[in-house]
Symmetry: C2
C-alpha cells in the first residue's frame, strides 16, 4: 500500500487498519536468545591489558577528531579533554570512567510487548541486514532496491520465527527521495511488523522525525521513559566522528534512545593489517564514542559495536567469514564485557555474488563466531550478500533458517534425569535400536533441531522433485511467505495519525536526491 | 596406470618408477595444526561427572557385546570382567584403568618424513572423506565410484596444501572385486601420495595385507617400531563390537598400529534422542573399545572416536551441521581430554545432494565445531556429500580451501610489538588510511588469509567472466589440479616390490562380490 493510499484510507475512517485488525494472525516469534553456554575467549589477560593500555595511548597521545561539531568539542573541553582544533586528546582513563554510566543492559520496547527485547548480559537479539542499495532474487537477478522491496523484507522479517527485531534500512528504497525515505521506512516497520526497530541516522533532523513517529506509535510519555529504538551510529574509522552521525547520536541520547557506536573497519584500510592493532583501534574508538554519548546524557543506552573484517590484498575487496574476522570478533567481545557494555558484531557476512556455497561457508563462519563471542545485538543476521551491497531474498530465508540452530545451541545441554536417558539405554541394550523406545517416542518431536528449508529427503525423491538446490528451495519459500503475509493489528486512530504524519511531513519537503 | 601395467613395468626394470622419480615435483603441504587457542567447553564439571558415572553404570550393569569373538571374551574374563554369553559386564573403573596404558599422543609416520603427523595433545590432523560408494561432479552428476575416481581423490589430497593425511577409503572403488579393493587402494595411497594413510578394516586378513604392504614400503624393522597406519574401527552402536572390526583392531594393535575406536551413532536411532544420553553411550563404548585395544597390546596407539549426528524425525534421515551434533562434539572432546586420549570427530558433514548453500552451511558448522572442540584427527575433513553416500569432486576442493582458514585461526593472535601496530596507528592518524603505510606494506602478503577458490572480484568483472557460482569455480579447479598432478618420487625397487605384492596377491584370490 503506498503512503498516498494509506493517507486516503486513514482520512476516510481507518477502514484498512480496522480490516487489518480483524483479520490479523499472529506469527510465532521466538524469545530473544538467552545464552546458557560460555563465551569463547581467545585473548589472554595479558593480551587484553596490552590492548587496553595501547587504546588509552591512542586517545591521549594521538587523539580523535570530532568534525564540524563545536558543541561536541565544548562538551569534551568541559569534561577535561585537551582539544586542539577538532582533535580531542582524552586523558588516560577519562573515557573509560565516562563509559561507566552507560547501562550494561537495557530493554528495547516493541509495540507488541511480547516482542520486547533485552540487549546486554547473556542475551542475543537478531536483526536483519542493513543498508544494501541493491536486492537480488533468483528470478530478477540483481537490481536497485525499491520501497516495495523494503516492505517485502520487513514482511519476511516479521514472519521469521528466529528474528527478534525488524531492523532498520533492510535495503535502500532508491525510488523514494533520499530526504523522505526514512519516513516510509519507519512507517513500514511500524505498521507491517510489531517487532522492535531502528531509527534514521542519516541526518539529525531524520533522527528527530524518528522520535516523533515513535511518540505517535507509543505515546509521548512512554517514549520519554522507555527505549523504543536502537539505531546504528558508525564511526568514520580511523578515529573520526562526523557531525551527521554524532548529530543523530545526540538526538537519540538526549531522548534516551539507544545507539550502537560502531567502528566501521576493513582491516588493512581503516585499521592496521593486524588483529591486535585493529582491536586496539576498535577499543579506542568505542571508548571515545560511548564516552561522548554519556557526555550528552548520562545513562543513555549504548552498545559497543564492532563491524570489522579483513581485506583481500590482491583486489582490495573486503573479505568475510575469514579467520582474522573471527579473531577480532572474539577479542572485541572480551573487551566489551570488560567495559560492561552490550556488544554488537557479526552477521550473515559474505562476499559472494550469489547465495551459493561461498556465501554459506562465509556466513556460517560469521554466525558461529557471533554466537560464541557473546554478541548481544546481531545486525545483518540474515539476508546479506556481496559485501553488503545486496539484500538477497533467498539468502534472507536461508540465513533466517540457520538462526534457529543458534537458538538451540545456545540453550545448552539439559542434564536432568530424563535427559540422561539411562532408562532408554537399559530398555534398548546392546544391538537394539532407539527409534521405538519410550524415551524417543516422548521426545522425538522436539529433541533435535531441524531446518525448515533444507532438503532431508532421499536422493530419489529429491531427484523426482526436480533436483532443486538451496537457492531454488529458498525462492519457493520466499514466494509462499509473501503470499501468506498478514499485517499485525494496530489501533486505527494510531494508524491514521502515523499515516498523517508521514504524508504531512513529505508534503512539506521538496524531493532531495542526495 | 592399472596394476597389471604396473607389474609389467616393474618386471621390465621399474622404468615407470624411475621416470616418476626424475620428474617429481613437491607440492607444498602445511604442517599439521598445532592449536594456540583454547578449546570451547560446554559441559560443567558436574555434568561431566554425571556422564562418567552413568557410563560406568552402562558397562557394569548393562554390559557390551563382543560378537563371534571367543578370544575377546577370554581376554575380558582374564582382565576381571563378568562375561555372560557374549555380554561383557565390566566392573566400575576397570575400563578406565585399562585405558591408561594408551598413549596420549603418537606420531604416525609417512614415507616422506616431512609429512609425519603428531596425533594428540594440541595437534589437529586433517584427512579426507572416507567410505562413499558414489561420486559426484558437476559434469557427470552422481554415479558409482570407480578405482579411477579413487586415484583422482588421492591425487587431489596429495596436492592440497591443507590436508595432512591421505586418508583411507576416499571412495569405494566399486569396479574392483570387494576382496581385492584394499590392495589397489593402499597401493594408490602409497604410490600417488607421500602423505600418511589408513589401513583396511573390512576383514582381519585385509588388515594383515595392509601391514605387509607397509613392511614393503617402510621396511619390516621400521614398521615394528613405528606407527605407519591409523585405521578406522567403528563400533556397532549401541554397545556391540563385531568380530570383523575387532579382528582388524586386533591385527593393528598387535602390530603397534593405530586405530580410531569410534561409536557410529545417529542420535535417536543408535543412541538416545538426547545429547546427555548420547554422550554417555559414546563414552561407555569408547571405554570398552579402547580398554580392549590395551588388552590386545598394552600401549597400542588408539584414538577416541565419536561419529555422532542427529536424526530428522520426519524422514529418519541423519542430519548434519546441527546444534545437537555440535553439542555432542564439544562434549565428547571434554570427555576425551579427561581420558587423556587423542580425539577424532567432526568433518565436512552435510546432508545436501549438491555442493550448494545447504552443504556449505552444514559443513562450516561442522568444521568450526571440529576446530574449537579440540579434535586431534579429523576424518572426512573435505569432500563429504549427501550424508556420506557421495564423495564430491567440487566439494573436495571447496572444503579443502576452507581448511586453510582453520590453520590461520588456530595459530592464535600475535601480540608482539609489531603486531600491536602502534607505529602504524601513529603514522596514519585520524581520518587517514592504512593501505600505504609502512606496516601494511611490510605485512600485506601474509597478514590476512584469503581463499584460493572464492570470488573476491567486483560484480562487473565477475559478471563478465560468466557469473560463475562456487561449484563452477571448483569444477575448474579440480580439472586444473588433476592436469597438473605429478607423482612423488619413490625408490624404484620399492615401487616394484609393492606392485609385485599387489599383483601376486590378487592373482591368488578369486573375485568376491561382497
Amino acid at each position: 500500500m503506498s503512503e498516498t493510499t494509506a493517507r486516503r484510507r486513514a482520512r476516510t475512517g481507518g477502514g484498512a487498519a480496522r480490516r487489518a485488525q480483524r483479520s490479523a494472525v499472529s506469527f510465532e516469534t521466538a524469545q530473544y536468545i538467552t545464552r546458557n553456554i560460555p563465551n569463547f575467549e581467545v585473548l589472554t589477560e595479558e593480551a587484553l591489558e596490552i590492548i587496553e593500555t595501547n587504546a588509552e595511548t591512542i586517545l591521549e597521545e594521538i587523539g580523535v577528531n570530532f568534525v564540524n561539531n563545536p558543541g561536541a568539542l565544548q562538551r569534551w573541553r568541559d569534561a577535561g579533554a585537551d582539544v586542539q582544533g577538532e582533535r580531542v586528546h582524552i586523558p588516560r582513563g577519562l573515557a573509560r570512567e565516562l563509559c561507566k554510566t552507560a547501562p550494561s543492559s537495557f530493554t528495547q520496547h516493541a509495540r507488541n510487548p511480547e516482542r520486547n527485547v533485552e540487549i546486554g548480559g547473556k542475551s542475543l537479539v537478531l536483526a536483519p541486514v542493513y543498508g544494501p542499495p541493491f536486492v537480488h532474487d533468483a528470478k530478477g537477478g540483481r537490481r536497485y532496491a525499491t520501497m516495495e522491496d523494503f516492505r517485502n523484507f520487513v514482511k519476511l522479517g516479521y514472519m521469521s520465527k528466529w528474528l527478534h527485531h525488524s531492523g532498520g534500512t533492510v535495503c535502500e528504497p532508491t525510488d523514494v527521495a533520499v530526504n523522505k525515505r526514512h519516513l516510509d521506512m519507519l512507517h513500514a516497520h511500524m505498521t507491517l511488523s510489531d517487532k522492535p526497530f531502528m531509527g534514521s541516522v542519516t541526518e539529525p533532523s531524520r533522527a528527530r522525525d524518528s522520535v516523533e513517529m515513535c511518540e505517535i506509535l507509543f505515546g509521548k510519555d512512554f517514549v520519554r521513559d522507555h527505549t523504543v529504538m536502537t539505531s546504528l551510529v558508525n564511526i568514520n574509522s580511523p578515529m573520526t566522528f562526523d557531525d551527521v552521525m554524532m548529530g543523530a547520536l545526540e538526538v537519540y541520547a538526549e531522548n534516551n534512545q539507544a545507539c550502537i557506536v560502531s567502528p566501521f573497519i576493513v582491516g588493512g584500510a581503516m585499521a592496521p593489517v593486524s588483529v591486535a592493532g585493529t582491536l586496539t583501534q576498535v577499543l579506542a574508538e568505542v571508548l571515545a564514542g560511548v564516552a561522548y554519548s554519556q557526555l550528552v546524557r548520562k545513562g543513555a543506552p549504548v552498545i559497543m559495536g564492532a563491524f570489522v573484517t579483513s581485506i583481500d590484498m590482491n583486489s582490495g575487496a573486503p573479505t568475510f567469514g575469514t579467520p582474522e574476522a573471527s579473531q577480532i570478533t572474539y577479542g572485541a567481545g572480551q573487551l566489551a564485557r570488560r567495559l560492561n557494555l552490550p556488544y554488537r558484531s557479526s552477521g550473515s557476512f559474505c562476499g559472494s555474488k550469489l547465495p551459493d556455497a561461498q556465501a554459506a561457508y562465509e556466513t556460517a563462519n560469521s554466525l558461529n563466531m557471533g554466537l560464541l563471542s557473546g554478541v548481544n545485538f546481531m545486525l545483518h543476521a540474515c539476508g546479506w550478500l556481496e559485501g553488503g551491497l545486496v539484500a538477497s531474498y533467498e539468502k534472507f530465508v536461508m540465513d533466517a533458517d540457520q538462526l534457529g540452530a543458534l537458538h538451540k545451541f545456545a540453550a545448552g545441554i539439559p542434564m536432568d534425569t530424563d535427559a540422561q536417558a539411562m532408562d532408554a539405554i537399559r530398555e534398548v541394550g546392546p544391538g537394539g535400536h532407539y527409534l521405538g523406545c519410550a524415551h524417543t517416542q516422548s521426545h522425538f518431536k522436539s529433541a533435535f533441531w531441524r531446518s525448515d528449508l533444507f532438503d532431508y529427503k532421499p536422493f530419489e525423491t529429491w531427484a523426482e522433485e526436480g533436483s532443486r538446490d538451496t537457492m531454488a528451495l529458498a525462492s519457493a519459500r520466499v514466494e509462499r511467505l509473501l503470499a501468506d503475509y498478514q499485517q499485525p493489528a494496530m489501533d486505527p486512530a494510531r494508524a491514521e495519525a502515523l499515516a498523517g504524519y508521514v504524508a504531512d511531513k513529505k508534503a512539506s519537503m521538496p524531493d532531495a536526491l542526495g
